[in-house]
Amino acid sequence: MIAYIVRRLLHAVPILVGVNLITFALFFFVNSPDDMARIHLGVKRVTPEAIAKWKEDRGFNRPLFYNAAAAGADKVADTIFFRHSVRLFAGDFGRSEDGRDIRREIFQRMWPSVAIALPTFAVGILVYITFAMLLAFFRGTYLDAWGVVACVGMMSVSTLFYVIGGQYLVSKLWHLVPISGYDAGGLHALKFLALPVIVGVVSGVGSSTRLYRSFFLEEIGKDYVRTARAKGLSEPRVLFRHVLGNALIPILTGVVVVIPLLFVGSLIMESFFGIPGLGSYTIDAITSQDFFVVRAMVFLGAVLYIVGLILTDISYSLADPRVRLE
């Protein structure tokens, strides 16, 4: 398994170079360094000299990919892309446009994202599996039919609707929790987490329950389930002991891969609930055209996604002894 993981990690290097290259190209094809300077220097009284100085300060006065005027390896090394990309692989994200250390910001803002995402994820998985098992148990009945209709209805509604609806009902009309905000640590923090977690879970009920139900139904039709029933096992025992375990593999495909991504937060939830996490950090960076932060977040997202895929593979081998990582 170790050889497999090492191989996957080595495969990740060209992928990350590619991701970085694409991010760089997309960003600089849309924004020239002059545009970036104007945005950061403000809209009033910006002189060409100030722009030139700003670019020089950040090394943006060099060519993007190829420096024809340089000699030898500097033709590639003395470019914006090379100078701003190599350090990423050493985990040095540099500084944002307001001079803040990006790595430290990421570390600070990761926790609010996790504080929302982790309970949403954990509670969500429990709720979705429970509902899906329930529908699978009552398959072919009115309960199942109406449950599926409800799921389709719920998954057709935008997350934004759940957010705004939840804020309207729970906070505005019923005054049960603050409508937005965040507080780190202590019981006081819990009342800020309750609504985003509930909204996060409820907004995922439709799609996840329906998906997991289909996994369970697929397993229920298999021979080993019939055998288990023939041996006189009760239906809950068949479902929880046998069907759930075997349906875990497709569930794991979707679930394990997102675990590392819980750290990067949710753009909509963090924005509407005023959570100072990485999702809102990314949005702010995009809005203010902070290339260094955008690049760092895309890079981090790619790294976490790759980690998620490796974890998924490992979890397969743990969930199903027939799977061997070689």
Partner: protein, 725 residues
Amino acid sequence: MGQTNSYRRALLLLALAALSCNARAEWNNPYPAAEEGKNILYTAFRERPKHLDPARAYSSNEYDFIAQIYEPPFQYHYLKRPYALAPLTAVALPRPAYLDTQSRRLPPDAPPAAVAYSVYEIRIRPGIYYQPHPAFARDAAGKLLYHALDERALAGKYAIADFPRTGTRELVAADYVYQIKRLAHPKLHSPILSVMGEYIVGMKDYAATLTRAYADVAGGREDGVYLDLARYPLAGAEAVDRYTYRVKIRGVYPQIRYWMAMPFFAPMPPEAERFFSQPGMQARNLTLDWYPVGTGAYMLTVNDPNRRMVLERNPNYHDEFYPRAGEPADAGRGLLADAGKRLPLIDKVVFSREKEGIPYWNKFLQGYYDRSAVLTESFDQAVRLTGSGDTDVTESMKQKGIRLLTSVAASTYYLGFNMLDPVVGGYGERARKLRQAVSIAIDYEEQISIFRNGRGIAAQGPLPPGIFGYEDGCAGSNPHVYDCVRGVPRRKPIEFARRLLSEAGYPDGRDARTGAPLTLYFETAATGPEEKARLDWMRKQLQKLNVQLEVRATDYNRFQEKMRKGDAQLFEWGWNADYPDPENFLFLLYGPNRKVGADGENAANYDNPEFNRLFERMKNMENGPERLAIIRRMLDVARRDAPWAWGVHPKLFTLEHAWVLNAKPNNMANNTLKYLRLEPAPRARDRAAWNRPVLWPVAAVLLLLAAGAAPAVIAYRRRERTVRR
């Protein structure tokens, strides 16, 4: 069994008791219980400030914070209108001394052409101290405690609060000189360096000197570089004695006093810069750009712009008192009730970040924000138009005691014609009439009503109300676009515009020579879906003249590039005043300040020699009848040439709860928090009344879930029984 039942009953009673107890508290209160009833103002901010260094910050969202912390020598009087400067840390407003090229003193009434230099000597008040800060902390021997920190000493220090000891020191004139020098610092990129380079003697060369000096000192390092500005004198700024400094300006530039009322000219203690320049500080995000050090009424104690910024009363704040005089109506509005009281009147201000309008608005309605702007999405809920055309809060707001404050911003949003364009530009009669016709056709009164909910007034020229030279009513109206009907300006009828268009060579919107329909191109940076209706409306305005308008919406970067290259025909843009002087608006039409070729702010590239000549005379004059006469003439010239369809001066609406007192809109002053007063007791009472938790929905949801689960349980049991049989 009986015992089990009694346990259940006890638990139920306990739960009910807990619920009924909690039902009296506000569950949705986002603030800690310890803050209940305290003299704390709660407000929100939407955009995080990028810079808090007074040499760099230039946006209103940055000034909301640093103007409370840093104190330039002058400020705007809180109550008086028109806006008037008043001393802040200065003893008095200085009068310039004029010098000729040989530095000989000239009389105060010397003609501007004879004046080579103006010298402003500013004396500051003794006994003003900085906020407590570790940069000033000293040990028993009087040595600065935190100015030789190494990695070990910095271990575990990631915020200013991590330094246990603080100190202070008296404000001296040299701190003001130090800050003026900082405007030329090569790493700060001060946005006003280019402007000040034109006026402060030696500033341009000083910037070059500092660039070289910085490169020498840094020697390729990025962290831990401190450039001691005291070693590099600046000819235009010098400390005369402990409490006096001089600023030497090239020629006559009375507007420099307004600049000196902005944080750019606030004092900076060199100790602070040295403290933050130590190696390892920047890596810990400890920078002067993040942790301001000032003498102002407040100091920043929590700086988490992603969530919350907190200003607390500066315990070292000097004597400053609420003004005793204002406008005649101020006493009637209760704005002089605190006259003579020591400032600030509020202990702490908590700014919470609200990116979205819905939570922001609802928290204001719940009493958790004391003040709020009127958001577009909640306008109808908050504001109504009265029969007389005025605005007031709606009945539901009135019942909550919410008040509406309105003011016209010192801003202008205009539609410009590129004077270099072959169709709409130029100074001939044909193009002028075309521009005038378009100006009449675009009904800004309608636009204000439809798209701004009445929040604005149609502009008659570049000057907004409150700026010297602005005149109300028919006297100040644009005769080329408006008629004066019974003493009120009325937009000229569209038939008049059609006639002008015909005289311009486009009868019925077609080129008389070629017969081709006239199509104009409109550049805008308004790209969002919410702008579509307004852009459609713009098209319809020109359709009244049978002229086609093609909208070219791009992002702001592309838009700016087009403007710089002069690749626009019609465009829309705006300007917010830096200071309340007509020069700050009329320079937008000054030829040498044009966008194309000179990279100035005159985006229309308007270049009328008569206007330019008048501007050069007007810009250095003191306000008075002579200046007013010149401004009137300038406005006449510009209105006739119509380089802009004059657009809109926006109105600012602010809502505040009844427990907020002393608020008066002041579009020039940014340091106004110190004048506000709060009544925490009524706030606590209203919050409790407005936010009682409603518990029945919780019970209903639980019941619903139980009801939903019941058929499943029944069906399950039935199935299990069937299987067993």
